[in-house]
Symmetry: C2
Subunit: 340 residues, 2 copies
Amino acid sequence: MSQTPKQSAEHPVPTSADVARLAGVSRATVSYVLNNTSAVRISEPTRRRVREAAEELGYVPHAAARSLRAGHTRMVLLPAAHVPVGPLYSRFFNELQWALRRLDYTVVQYGSLGLDGDEAARAWAELRPVAVVSLGEVALTPHGVGVLKRSGAKAVITLGPERVEGAHSLVMDQREVGGCAAAHLIGRGYRNIGVLMPDEPGLELFSRPRLEGATEAAMRTGARIEPLTMSYDEESAAALAADWRGLGLDAVYAYNDEYAMLLMRALQDEGVAIPRETAVMGADDLLLGKLLRPRLSTVQIDLVTGQRLAGLVDRVVRDPGAEPERHDLMRARAVHRESS
Amino acid sequence: MSQTPKQSAEHPVPTSADVARLAGVSRATVSYVLNNTSAVRISEPTRRRVREAAEELGYVPHAAARSLRAGHTRMVLLPAAHVPVGPLYSRFFNELQWALRRLDYTVVQYGSLGLDGDEAARAWAELRPVAVVSLGEVALTPHGVGVLKRSGAKAVITLGPERVEGAHSLVMDQREVGGCAAAHLIGRGYRNIGVLMPDEPGLELFSRPRLEGATEAAMRTGARIEPLTMSYDEESAAALAADWRGLGLDAVYAYNDEYAMLLMRALQDEGVAIPRETAVMGADDLLLGKLLRPRLSTVQIDLVTGQRLAGLVDRVVRDPGAEPERHDLMRARAVHRESS
């Protein structure tokens, strides 16, 4: 096995041997200097010579070689999102990246589009991350968690609707969101409640448990829950609105604020009075929901902070033998405005 | 240098040697089978034995070791977005991932939050990607492009407001968007045009050239351009709206549809008639912009397709010596609705 990447005639890839030659030192010295090893005493002029030689040749260390030598990486693997990411999630994600970087981890996102849980776990394991934080894009199984741990991952943390055996699980039970929306509507006297299910692929992970939560909340009260399907486009909203009065509904929980805004406008265009004839409820507490008239009622969802999640990653990496923990994170509350 | 990651007592990491022992074959055979090397003839029963042994032990190949052996990877590195990602971009991004996967590349996103262009290039180079597609999150310099190429990257492609020397550049000149918005407003008779600059960090990359484009379009006509600052919150919009009449503006291009919706509502709440007293224009052609009344005029922006970008990546990887190309991609057109 060769440590040196193949060289092409056009772009010869400089190696640590080239740096050592130019600086007049050993390869070991190059490695010590560029990896900032403090265990070995090397004079400042030598360090400078090595850095200048590396700069001149355009040499950068090979992360793979380094991680093979060290037997592990500081890489935290986060699967990349493959559904549209709203401002809430984006802020959480930036916070998480910053906090992990401050703890000296490298954050790598890895596309897992089209892979099932076990395929994804295998692909991730090949990168030998020290930690994997799965944000629910892929349904990781206990088998997948085992694959990752056997490949050397010290922390496997899942953030999603359900606990995954063997992993530290941050459970965000989406049923809470639907339950909260339905309870709000029932509390305000509505009894025939539509629950909108987006037709777009990838969102069932959220929409199905939200429907379940609404159904559970209604069962205790005798209210009726009616699942409805709509795509995120004006035609689909208009078609649903055209048949609205035949459905016999007095309220609708429309998945999130964007779908709710779209449906509310379509209902208004059909002459349906909001909330007198039909109450409308979204979720996510988007700023834009306050711009329509009537102002949209919503469910506010608290995400875990990136800071806190980064702290958990670091704690588990340092103590990988600890029993997997389960934390329930979902905090949802109804925000009453004018549409309900 | 050891090829074997360090083992802990709790989670011994299975190696290819363990698989070889269990299957009763050589390590080379394990490597041939698990990397699907077709150059070597190995009987189907042996292949099966190796696969079963790997499965039983939970062994997965080490991507780093494999890329060191091969001298290169099939990794395409995409810097991770660190500003909120809208539905347009998200769709483009998924398409790109799918298309690259079909071409047998692995897509890795890498957080580069807080790094400047050269720091980011160095961090990316350490991963030895075969291709880097920089989507404008980081201002890659010609020096950074050189670092990446010398580390073995065969394709360095930038997608952003400007050409980067040495890289294949897909130039999306954001000035087009601002120019298009201003030209639309001027064409409809407005002469005193505010241009909204979001106060949020990270958006200057888009907002500054959009302002430039608007200014250039106005210069040819004698219309006045007035830069304005606003944060994406109701308080900031209300403060701007409260002083609106003192500004002497008859139109505003408000960066994008979200800012435009927020400002338009604040102006309406101040009693400013849209578009009679002030025309409002957004950009991005969001579905939600059609839900307000009056319906929001906007600039529709065509993104390059993920499919096409993946094709370019593959073409450059196969022919890395080709002269860097520059493609101008921005296609923007004004969509007139009711607010202008």
